[in-house]
Each structure stands twice: as structure tokens, then as C-alpha cells.
């Protein structure tokens, strides 16, 4: 002993410097709702039905229902089967969820009659592997997919178009944008739509905005779907969000009345983050949201904590609860766009571990979304994965033979798609008399990584142009006409095919996406038929050959060369 001064060991210093220790962790505080899914303050399951009406729900009489209880009792729960379903022991329902001998349909026949507290009671019995096993069978669409973000820190439409084109080419079935400066929305939404159709015809796009503006862009056919329709698990927080289950249900029908695909958004932690969890666990409140969405008749839900991931991420078992909320959405037959979106951790290991419960079983959209731009350009405040992670993602898919919706694409194809997207937007802007896009900007878009790699735009001129898009009443049809008359026939035809879908309403069905040949693929014609080993979606054939390709794969016959 040469010193009595206490000092940290060299190992402790090393551990202290690890990225995971920049993350925030807190103790549980169940009285305030700061607890993932196991709280003594959550109600016990119960139901009583009289004259075809739920008169008691989870220990509360109808006279004491808040508006969530009322909406769920009136619209979500199947009164004909509720008492029988509620009588089944929770352990038996949990076993049905993981038993390959019980079909998805048989599970749904039970879950349609369950109350929120009963659903919680079921999933509380399941560990994370069982949750994944359940998700594998209960996901609504047989084929998993992925969603990407294409945004720009400068709201630069050319960047959004180029990154959307690359993202679509890499495999995202849906692409989403949002803004720094909201008034830029029309130009950026147009750019996203054009870029997406260049990358892969049939990719669906949306622009996340305040409800009324988002609906207006959809009605005009500038965007193809919507998802930023937030719902909350307590009445007080729902009202703080200036909505009710009835206003949101009305909005859901408004979208469908214009042929526009739409899903709600919710997630664990939002109520405690907004200061009024009413002393209930995060998962219990999220299950109320999921059943409210079900009752509203919306086809799907984006959940998995979403922008509140820091809250469940900070408490014990939080990421298990997040996996459970995705499973609950799927086990009540909703499309699930399963989070993995907001920046979550400084630790790469933790970021990857957080993904596994969605990537391994597959979900309707594994991320909602993956940042198809560098995180510094991500206007959704960064995602759990970004463009730097593309090669890692592709390698993990190949290692584990799982389909996370993306693929490796060769450089020349990417450069061509980016360049075409920028040129198509250049031509379209000129045709619509919008602020010019220079050849220098097109060249930058072809090779760029981030918004810093582009010439600066004249923002005031762009905002005037954006305003004129709204004032002149420009619609998706004008975009088609502009692209066609300027010689971008394929892009024009792809966009017209997407717009035609709203006349058919096929994309309104659960979990619908459009394939590359413009076939709607949903839970109706792509039923998840998982029934144990060798069944359900299998990564095989042409798709597996595609996913074997990486940036660098050594040739088996000539070790000096690379294939792919």
C-alpha cells in the first residue's frame, strides 16, 4: 500500500468512458407511472356484459368509466365473446400465443374479447423470447417490411429526393418526411414522392405534420399515407393533445373517405412524459391506446414507444415492455409499424439489442422509421439506425438469415437513382414554375452524404414557391403531368399507379403495401400462416440470394476477387 487516497481502478475508468454510461437510467416509481409493465396500481381484469353492453370493465362500473374505458367498451371489445374469452386463464392465452399448433385466427377469436387489464395479464407472463415467438405468428402481413425517414436539416428538397430514391432502391416500402421549417412542407413532400418513385415504383410516402395540414397534403395526392395521428392512454393526456377517441375516430374515417392509408401512433412512456400517467404502468396505458385504435377501425398503429423511447429505456424491463406493446398491436390484428425510430442509446450494442425483438420475428415495418439520411439531417430528432448503419444492417440480415426489408445495392445503381431523382425534381420544379434547381445541385445530390454537401438554397424563394403550391391548388395529378411532359415517363407512370390505388381503396386494408409491380399486398392476400418450423415467411429463393450480397464478399473460386 503506497497510498490511502481512494481512486477509481483503471478498469472502472475504462468502463466509465463507455458510451452506455452516457445513457440515462432511473429507478422505478410506480405511483407516478414510471414503471414498465409490472405495477400494483394497475387494475385487475374483469368484465360484465348486460343486454349486449359492457357494464363493468377492469373493476370499474360504467358510471365511473373515463372516455378511454367508454370508447374501448363501446367499440373495441366483442361483447358476444368477451365473457368466454375473459374466463380463459391468462397462462393459457399466453401459451396459445406461442404454440405453433394454434393458428393466428384461433388466437384472434380470443383476443377480440379481452379487456386492457387482461391483455396486460397475458403478456406479463411472457419473457422476451416468448414475445418474439408470439410476434412471428401474430404479425398481420406474412412478408415483413421496413420504413425509412428522408428529411434534411436544411429542408433541402433535392436532398430529400435523392435520399428517398436511394432508400427506396435499398428496400424501404414506405418513406416518411417531416420539416424543420413547416412552410417548406409542400416542396419537401413533392420531393419525397418523386424520389421514392424513382428509386422503386410503388413505395408509399408521407409527410408528418399537424393533423389538418397532413390531411390536406394527402387529399391533394401529394402524399400517399399518414401516420402522425397520436393517441394517448389517459383521458387527461389525450385532452392535452387536443383530441378525444371520437375526434380521432372521425379523422380515421376522413382519411379513408379520400382513399388514403392511415395508421395511428402511440407508445409506452408518452403519458408519464406528458405528466399524467394516473399512476398506471406504461404498458397498461399503451394497451388502452392499442384497443382504442382497434375500436376506431383504423387499420394499424405505429407503436414501440416511438419518440418517448428514453422513458421505457431508462427503467428495468423497459425494452421488454416495448417488445410486448408491438406484440399486443399484432395480436389484436392491427398493422404494426414497430418503432426502432427515435435515437435511443449512445451504445451500439444497446441499439442493436433493442432491435432484435422486432427484427428476428419480423414485423409489418421493423423500423418506423430507419433514418435514410445521416442522423444529423434527421428532423424526427434522429433514429436508432441511420445511413452509416446500412452495411451493418445488411450484414446482420445475412448472418442471421432474417429479412429486415433492406438489401445491398451496387454503387452505380445508387448513383443513377440519386441523379435521376434530382433531375426529375429539377424538371418538375421548372415545369411548375417553382424555384430553379441548378445542375450543380443535381451533381451534388448524386454524390452527397449530408445536407452539408449541397449548395445552399434561396430559402425565401423556396418558401414562396411552397406557398404557391398550396395557393395554386397543385395536386398529385399535376406532378404526374409535369413528369410525363418533361420526359420522365417511368416516374410519371409509377406515381399515377400509386394515385390510382386511392380509387380502388386496396391500400386501406390492414398492413397494405404496394409491390414493385403495383400489386397491393396486405393481411388479406398475404395472410401470416406461420404454423411452426418450415412454415410462414421464410427467407429463401431469390430474396435470400439478394440478401447474400454485401459490399465485400470474397469469391469462393478466386480468393483474389470479390463478388456481389
Amino acid at each position: 500500500m503506497t497510498t490511502t487516497e481512494p481512486r477509481p481502478s483503471i478498469r472502472t475508468e475504462l468502463l466509465e468512458s463507455r458510451p452506455v454510461n452516457l445513457d440515462g437510467f432511473v429507478e422505478e416509481w410506480p405511483e407516478k407511472g414510471l414503471v414498465a409493465m409490472e405495477s400494483d396500481f394497475d387494475p385487475a381484469p374483469s368484465i360484465r356484459v348486460e343486454d349486449g353492453r359492457v357494464v363493468e370493465l377492469d373493476g370499474k362500473a360504467r358510471a365511473d368509466f373515463d372516455f378511454m374505458d367508454t370508447f374501448i367498451a363501446n367499440h373495441a371489445i366483442d361483447v358476444a365473446s368477451a365473457e368466454a374469452s375473459m374466463a380463459i386463464p391468462s397462462a393459457q392465452i399466453a401459451r396459445m400465443l406461442i404454440d405453433p399448433g394454434v393458428s393466428r385466427g384461433e388466437v384472434l377469436a380470443v383476443t377480440r374479447g379481452l379487456t386492457p387489464a387482461k391483455v396486460l395479464d397475458v403478456v406479463k407472463l411472457m419473457n422476451v423470447v416468448e414475445i418474439m415467438q408470439g410476434m412471428q405468428k401474430m404479425r398481420a402481413r406474412r412478408t415483413p417490411a421496413n420504413q425509412g425517414h428522408s428529411t434534411s436539416a436544411r429542408d433541402n428538397p433535392i436532398q430529400v429526393a435523392a435520399d428517398a430514391a436511394e432508400g427506396a432502391l435499398r428496400g424501404f416500402a414506405e418513406l416518411e418526411t417531416t420539416l424543420g421549417v413547416l412552410r417548406y412542407a409542400p416542396l419537401v413532400a413533392i420531393a419525397l414522392q418523386v424520389g421514392a418513385q424513382v428509386g422503386r415504383g410503388g413505395v408509399l410516402t408521407q409527410c408528418a405534420l399537424e393533423e389538418a395540414t397532413e390531411l390536406e397534403l394527402g387529399m391533394r395526392g401529394i402524399t400517399a399515407y399518414a401516420e402522425t395521428i397520436s393517441i394517448y392512454g389517459t383521458e387527461s393526456v389525450f385532452v392535452d393533445g387536443d383530441d378525444t377517441p371520437w375526434s380521432k375516430a372521425f379523422l380515421a374515417s376522413a382519411y379513408a373517405s379520400r382513399g388514403i392509408k392511415m395508421r395511428f401512433t402511440s407508445g409506452t412512456g408518452s403519458e408519464v412524459q406528458m405528466g399524467n400517467a394516473e399512476g398506471k404502468s406504461m404498458l397498461y396505458l399503451e394497451i388502452r391506446c392499442i384497443l382504442m385504435a382497434k375500436g376506431a377501425g383504423v387499420q394499424g398503429l405505429q407503436n414501440g414507444s416511438i419518440s418517448c423511447i428514453g422513458v421505457p429505456g431508462a427503467v428495468p424491463g423497459g425494452i421488454r415492455a416495448v417488445a410486448a406493446e408491438n406484440l399486443v398491436a399484432s395480436m389484436v390484428d392491427l398493422e404494426c409499424a414497430s418503432g426502432n425510430d427515435q435515437s435511443f442509446s449512445h451504445s451500439s450494442m444497446r441499439r442493436t439489442a433493442r432491435l432484435m425483438p422486432q427484427l428476428l420475428p419480423g414485423t409489418d415495418f421493423v423500423c418506423s422509421g430507419y433514418s435514410a439520411v445521416p442522423n444529423a439531417d434527421n428532423m424526427f430528432a434522429g433514429s436508432n439506425f441511420d445511413t452509416e448503419d446500412y452495411d451493418d444492417w445488411n450484414t446482420i440480415q445475412r448472418d442471421l438469415q432474417v429479412d429486415g426489408g433492406l438489401r445491398h445495392v451496387r454503387e452505380p445503381e445508387i448513383l443513377q437513382a440519386r441523379n435521376t431523382a434530382a433531375r426529375a425534381l429539377q424538371a418538375l420544379f421548372a415545369h411548375l414554375d417553382l424555384p430553379a434547381i441548378t445542375d450543380e445541385e443535381v451533381e451534388a445530390a448524386t454524390y452527397a452524404d449530408s445536407s452539408n454537401d449541397y449548395p445552399l438554397r434561396d430559402v425565401l424563394a423556396d418558401l414562396k414557391g411552397a406557398q404557391s403550391v398550396m395557393e395554386r391548388g397543385i395536386t398529385g395529378l399535376d406532378l404526374v403531368r409535369g413528369l410525363e411532359t418533361t420526359g420522365f415517363h417511368d416516374v410519371a407512370q409509377s406515381l399515377l399507379n400509386v394515385l390510382r390505388q386511392r380509387v380502388s381503396g386496396d391500400l386501406l386494408q390492414t398492413s397494405a403495401v404496394l409491390t414493385a409491380d403495383f400489386t397491393p399486398l396486405s393481411a388479406i392476400n398475404d395472410v401470416n400462416d406461420y404454423a411452426g418450423p418450415g412454415t410462414g415467411y421464410r427467407l429463401a429463393g431469390e430474396r435470400w440470394e439478394e440478401l447474400k450480397k454485401l459490399r465485400h464478399v470474397t469469391s469462393a473460386t478466386n480468393p483474389e476477387t470479390e463478388v456481389g
Partner: protein, 169 residues
Amino acid sequence: MQRGACHSVATLRGPTESEPALSASPPPELTTADYPLSINRPELLRTPSGKPITALTMDAVVSGELSAEDLRIAPETLQLQAQLADASGRPQLAANFRRAAEMTAIPDAEVLAMYNALRPRASTAAQLAELAERLERAYSAPVCAALVREAAEVYARRDLLARPTADVG
């Protein structure tokens, strides 16, 4: 119960001269095998202006024959999709499509205004009652009207109606 609305919506637009055969025959009974309609049953799909979906061609776009109105969904199509949702065991989704079928007749701005009227403390009981009545009378939208009346009842119980007079202090 929701099925009854189906008939009133189907007659919303009324038969037109150009499609006598279609209007005269009852709506077809669909099964999930008919999905996607755009591929398996395109002959059932028309725009609100009565054009068949096959008329939505690039030539028609470029010649200016098509307007934005032609890229909207018709109430009859939403009823077909509601049938498919029912056939695939999704009654709530079907009910949503039936409300949507009713809403196709309501102009965009009014849909938004109605949505805003349903926000918490945005409307008095009388205003919501009036809204429900307007949905029924002006737009033959009984399913939507029922949703508004249900909201009005819950809002009254949960103190979510607007106060009739400004209450300062």
C-alpha cells in the same frame, strides 16, 4: 346494426344515366379472394364521377381529361372494401369504411371543420346535436351522426363540452 347504413349510402349519389346496368344490380357479394380489387375485380371500380378505373390512363392525364376529382374513392368502393374487411374478420375496420363512405360526400374543408368541432371543449351540446343533424340531413350520414351523438353524450359526462358563455376568471 351498422349494415343498415349500407343501403342509404349506396343511394347517396343516385343512379346516373351513364351506368344504368351497374346501378340496377345489387352490390356484388365479395369474398377475400376478390382482393385486391384493383387486380381481381377492376370492373367494379369507378371514380366518383363515374369513370371506370381503367380510364385513369397517362393519355387521359396529359390531355387534361382527368381532374383531381377522378382520383378520389367512390362511396360504393368503400362499401366493397367494408365487405372485404367483414369477410376477413375485421368488423371495426368495416365500420370505419362505412363512415368513410358517408364522408365522401362532404367537402374537404367541411370534413376538417367537423373534425375540429369534435375536439375537446370545442363545441357545446347544442352544436354537436346540430352537427349530427347536419350529417344526417345534408349528407345522409347516419353512421357518422351516431358517432357524433355518442361523443356528445360522453363529453357531457366528462366535462368536455364548450361552455356556452366565455367564463373569465
